[in-house]
């Protein structure tokens, strides 16, 4: 019996290490490429640990080439679209969670809102490109902000609806009885209580917008309007590839994601499965 137990413990620890190695080694490899001189990049056998680090590729990417601008665009688009989605979405979520609407609208609207998120991106990318072209919004940050707001909205509504529903009603009632208006109760009593949930939702939206590729690729093609992922992709598919520059840009693109992911592990599974499984 104990032998079997020991074997399982051993297997457990082994699988843990193998999984960790598989998950992290490729990312680590990219980081080393971004820090290696071109000689070391092409060395054989590949140096995993011992090489002379250099920051030249980072300098090259963000100072000489246009990656600083892409980074700025990515940040502006992510932050603005997240703010818009949060404001619009939180209001709708609150109404759906707290008011009894006629004709079972609470349930029907929620399901309809969720269903808009189910379209494959390419299905809406084609008409959105044509719409933005007609509106002369191609190659603007505004086009991406608009699209990402709509893209994140169903997610915000579903997450926040869950957080509002978890909140006991008595607190708001107390505020309402005290003569506070609905909006007053929402702002002064409810929002502070769901602040952690709001923050988690915001971080999710930021990550989604930061990572998004297809819409950005379709809608922005100029240096002034393209986001970091599109900028990186443009370098990858060019004829001659600057591996160092590309890895440096990609490594920088990871940083905000890592910070966020560590900050809210707890909410992650719930968020990624849209609240379907409690994490």
């Amino acid at each position: 019996m104990t032998r079997i137990k020991n074997r399982f413990t051993f297997l457990r620890i082994l699988s843990l290490f193998v999984a960790l190695l598989f998950a992290l080694a490729p990312v680590y490899w990219m980081l080393t490429i971004s820090l290696k001189t071109e000689v070391d990049q092409f060395a054989s056998p590949p140096p995993w640990f011992i090489f002379t680090p250099t920051l030249e590729h980072y300098y090259d990417a963000f100072v000489t080439r246009g990656f600083g601008q892409y980074l700025l665009t990515s940040a502006i688009v992510a932050v603005t679209s997240t703010a818009c989605a949060l404001i619009i979405g939180t209001l709708a979520a609150y109404a759906l969670a707290r008011f009894e609407l006629p004709w079972q609208l609470n349930k029907r609207l929620s399901l309809w809102i969720l269903s808009t998120r189910m379209f494959p991106a390419i299905v809406t990318a084609v008409p959105l490109f044509l719409m933005m072209r007609d509106l002369r919004l191609l190659n603007t940050q505004a086009s991406l902000i608009i699209v990402y707001t709509a893209f994140n909205l169903p997610f915000v509504i579903w997450m926040m609806r869950g957080f509002f529903a978890d909140l006991p009603r008595d607190l708001e009632e107390a505020a309402l009885v005290d003569g506070d208006s609905r909006i007053g109760a929402l702002v002064r009593v409810v929002l502070p209580l769901v602040a952690p949930g709001l923050a988690a939702t915001a971080v999710f939206c930021l990550i989604v917008s930061w990572n998004e590729f297809l819409f950005a690729l379709v809608l922005t093609q100029t240096d002034a309007s393209m986001t970091l992922p599109v900028g990186i992709a443009g370098r990858v598919t060019q004829y001659e590839i600057k591996w160092g520059v590309m890895s440096a840009a990609a490594s920088v693109a990871i940083v905000p994601i890592l910070v966020f992911a560590l900050a809210l592990q707890r909410y992650l599974v719930r968020g990624l499965s849209m609240g379907a499984v409690k994490g």
């Binding site: 843990l16 390419i122 590729f213 990609a250 693109a253 990871i254 409690k278």
Partner: protein
Amino acid sequence: MPKSRRFFSAHAKRSLLLPALFIAPAIAVLLTLSIYPLIYSITISLQEETSAGIEWGLGHFARLASDNFFRTAMAHTFVYAAAALTCEFLLGLGLALLLNKQIRGRGLFRASLLVPMMLPTVVVGVVWRLMLNPNFGAINGTLKQFGIDTESLTWTASPRLAMLSVIAVDVWQWTPFVFLVLLAGLQAIPQEPYEAALIDGSSRWQTFRHVTLPLLKPAILIVLLLRTMDLLRVFDQIFILTEGGPGFATETISLYIYRTAFRFFDFGYAAAMSFVLLALTNVISVIYIRFLSHR
């Protein structure tokens, strides 16, 4: 009706204005940016430009039937989705079962496993371009050290290995997600059924088959549903890794639609194809949801 309920519905009856005002912006945004594009897309998929002007009809859809590229892209999509889903599920389930125990450092382990799935897909593409590069990539470099001939292992550049490579990359990125959802599902299972199984003298396998699996079914179905939807629409990683190549070897349906719309500017035909993809994902999700509600 509990007191608080009555209070709220009385309040609500007095004014539907406020909830309407709260919900209206969200509905307006979704109508203009989700529903209107869909209608727009239907319109252009039914219009063909001929010398006589714009003609309405099912021409684009008729063209689908005889388009070999479309059929191949469909086949690629199914192969990709089926292979990646199987690997991700089996690996994810295995890991979740193994690690459904209090282990020291599990938090750190979980955080590290999050890394691949949180990465921008573009970065995933870059990471694996570097790993799989035939000349200086870490995979071939390491294989060479073990004396393996890597001459023919050109991965994403090889017609034979390209599909395998892009599938492996998806498995790398998304197995952690399957693992985390299933682990959460496992931890939500109460202890009592296990104690009962122990008293009945069930074997490990019997316990797994008759206790764990049925109780884990909702989590399994949800994770399979989410993965299937994502796999059928895959675009980003393949675009970065191979651009559908070499030749046509890894062209999935989303890539073919992209190429049709934004390289050949045949928007009507692209729209028609995108509806086939939409119909496909819808049918599959309905099947999953049926299963889920019949548990």
